[in-house]
Amino acid sequence: MQISNRLSGSVLAALGAAAAWGGSRLPPVPGQDVGPAAFPMVIGFGLVACGVLIALGIGRSFEVEETPEPLTWRVLVPPGLLVFYVLAANELGFLLTAAAMVLAAGLALGARPRLALAMAVIAPPLVHLAFYKLLRVPLPAGLLPAPWA
């Protein structure tokens, strides 16, 4: 964990420095002494301080040592599917996009194909019904409009 602490601490310190620098360049507001710069700068300096302390390993004694699972490419599936939803929902419509999402996520989680397919067929119409009909959220119709829309 020590190496990653050094990395995360440095990243935070760099982010803090960038925030403070970016904040300091914000234009002052006419007629006000305290402008938009003050708060980001305070936070930025705070982050730099925390980042340095973390990188130096201070406060490590409080942590419970845990060994995280090894990374696989599959962890990127959920955020990837959310991006897919944003890009595809308007064209494909909610039902098709949602079905694709549920199917892909189910398979990536190791579901048997039959279960994943069943979920992909059942879940999207139910969610659509609840959100579109009950909560009046304007979900896009796209290629396959729901029969109740």
């Binding site: 003050a38 936070i43 939803y85 189910g106």
Partner: protein, 500 residues
């Protein structure tokens, strides 16, 4: 007394009773869905209230919000995915209890103490509204600044990881809250020319991302955890009486803190839960048990957030100033229905007021049976295969985020925060502190900057007003306390070494 009889008659009208029952079910379901908060549940009700009679309309909001705040605990306890920001404070605790096989105790505590908190909060609204309102109006930006700082410090008290990482997470949250132009200067900050960032980052997509999406991401990397021992869910209320007796003092403290924080406009149930959970840990005889599946903090925080929900109506009803985001929406509905907030609501329309009180009490009572049914239904997900549950949660995250402003950008944000939450957890940074930072960021900056503007840059007024001086003493004391303890221990150990 005539007013009271009239109020009972109003509440017992068929349309009002149906509205209460329907919105109770609605609130329970919506609050339990990851991605839909109690505020969202209320906002999505507005179009419906348009068609209802005034009392029925308000009844739906009162009932649905109380139910949603409670049922936000359900996905938190079962899946480690808090349904509302108010649950984020103690999600890890409740989930730890579930892993110990005590899901029914954790959820039962949430239900039981939420209902008690709601009823005590309502009593405070009925008996002390003018007094509480007086207190709310004595808070100026100076007092709010100290209050917000105190709230932020809870992040470090609650965290089980290193306090420095907790502070770093909180600061990151505050930095994220800087994004957009909803700052005192009205200047776009860190928007990088993206229009959707002008309005800033909403807390809900962030909450959903760092908890729900990152949980789905973790599921991708890990093998399916061993199934919990296949035993029947025990009686949900059986042990609550025991907890009530054992943690009576904590319950009352939670109720009182909740009422006070709820009355202060702008703070609300989220902050009440955090402060109460942190207080519970601070004053506990066994603080080391917190986070390992210990019900003490759940009792206090559960009692607190529903109490704050009820007392948040005090400034809303008396002055039209919302106590939190839920009452902000409710005020709009009150006006729309001709029940204009103001002192006249209490005097000239006393029967309507009594009706609202009765609805509050009624909602918190029916919460118990309906909540039990909901818990039993929801606990099915503990038995369902993970590969069937997680994809649906991901879908709900997307739709829930979209529903906030019918804006696909929020869905993108959920994904971004999912990655952020995943990385942070792996590095040992508590994500709950990040959420607290995002929720509180605007309040901290707003009150800091406006106070400085009002005082022409002078720091003295921060300590000058009576209430603010007390709050300042609290904050600075809490800030210096750990440092003092640390120095004391250091001195003791060094002198000890010399002697040895």
């Amino acid at each position: 007394m005539n007013d009271l009889a009239e109020a009972v008659r109003i509440v017992l009208a068929t349309d009002v009773l149906i509205a209460i029952l329907a919105s109770a079910v609605y609130g329970l379901v919506v609050g339990s869905l990851p991605g839909l908060s109690a505020t969202m549940a209320t906002a999505l009700l507005v179009p419906v209230t348009f068609w209802l009679s005034p009392i029925a309309a308000i009844a739906t909001i009162i009932t649905a919000s109380a139910m949603a705040i409670f049922s936000g605990d359900i996905p938190g306890a079962l899946l480690r995915i808090p349904g509302t920001p108010a649950s984020a404070a103690y999600t890890d605790e409740a989930y730890a209890m579930t892993r110990k096989g005590q899901a029914e105790l954790a959820l039962g505590a949430g239900l039981w103490f939420s209902a008690i908190g709601g009823i005590v909060g309502t009593l405070s609204l009925m008996l002390m509204a003018p007094l509480l309102a007086e207190m709310a109006l004595s808070f100026s930006s100076y007092e709010y600044f100290w209050l917000a700082l105190l709230g932020l410090m809870c992040a470090t008290l609650v965290a089980r990881s290193s306090p420095i990482k907790a502070i770093a997470s909180m600061l990151l949250g505050l930095l994220i809250a800087c994004i957009g132009m909803e700052n005192p200067a009205g200047t776009p900050r860190f928007t990088f020319g993206v229009t959707d960032l002008l309005g800033g980052i909403e807390p809900i997509p962030a909450l959903v991302g760092v908890f729900a999406v990152s949980e789905v991401m973790r599921a991708m990397a890990s093998a399916e955890p061993p199934k919990l021992p296949p035993r029947r869910f025990g009686s949900i209320l059986a042990n609550q009486w025991l907890l009530t007796k054992r943690y009576q003092w904590q319950m009352w403290r939670g109720n009182i803190v909740g009422i006070i924080i709820g009355v202060l406009p702008g703070a609300g149930a989220d902050m009440a839960a955090w402060v109460s959970y942190a207080m519970s840990k601070k004053f506990s005889r066994t603080p080391e048990l917190f986070g390992t599946g210990h019900p003490e903090g759940l009792v206090e925080a559960g009692a607190s957030n529903n109490a704050s929900l009820a007392s948040g109506w005090v400034p809303s009803l008396l002055f039209g100033i919302p106590g939190d985001t839920i009452t902000a929406i409710a005020i709009g509905v009150l006006y729309m229905k001709g029940l204009n907030p103001g002192p006249t609501l209490f005097t000239e329309r006393a029967s309507s007021m009594y009706a609202l009180y009765i609805i509050f009490i009624l909602a918190n009572i029916i919460m118990i049976p309906l909540g039990i049914v909901m818990i039993r239904l929801a606990s099915v997900v503990l038995r369902a295969p993970r590969s069937a549950v997680m994809p649906v949660i991901l879908l709900l995250c997307a739709v829930g985020a979209f529903a906030i402003g019918n804006n696909p950008f929020s869905v993108l944000m959920v994904g971004v925060f999912g990655v952020l939450g995943f990385v942070m957890e792996r590095q040992g940074f508590p994500v709950a502190a990040l959420v607290l930072g995002i929720v509180m960021g605007n309040m901290v900056e707003q009150n800091f900057v406006t106070s400085l503007i009002k005082s022409d840059g002078d720091v003295w007024p921060f300590f000058e007003r009576p209430v603010s001086s007390v709050l300042a003493a609290f904050t600075i004391g809490a800030l210096l306390w750990p440092l003092g303890v640390w120095i004391w221990n250091r001195l003791k150990s060094t002198t000890g070494e010399i002697v040895r």
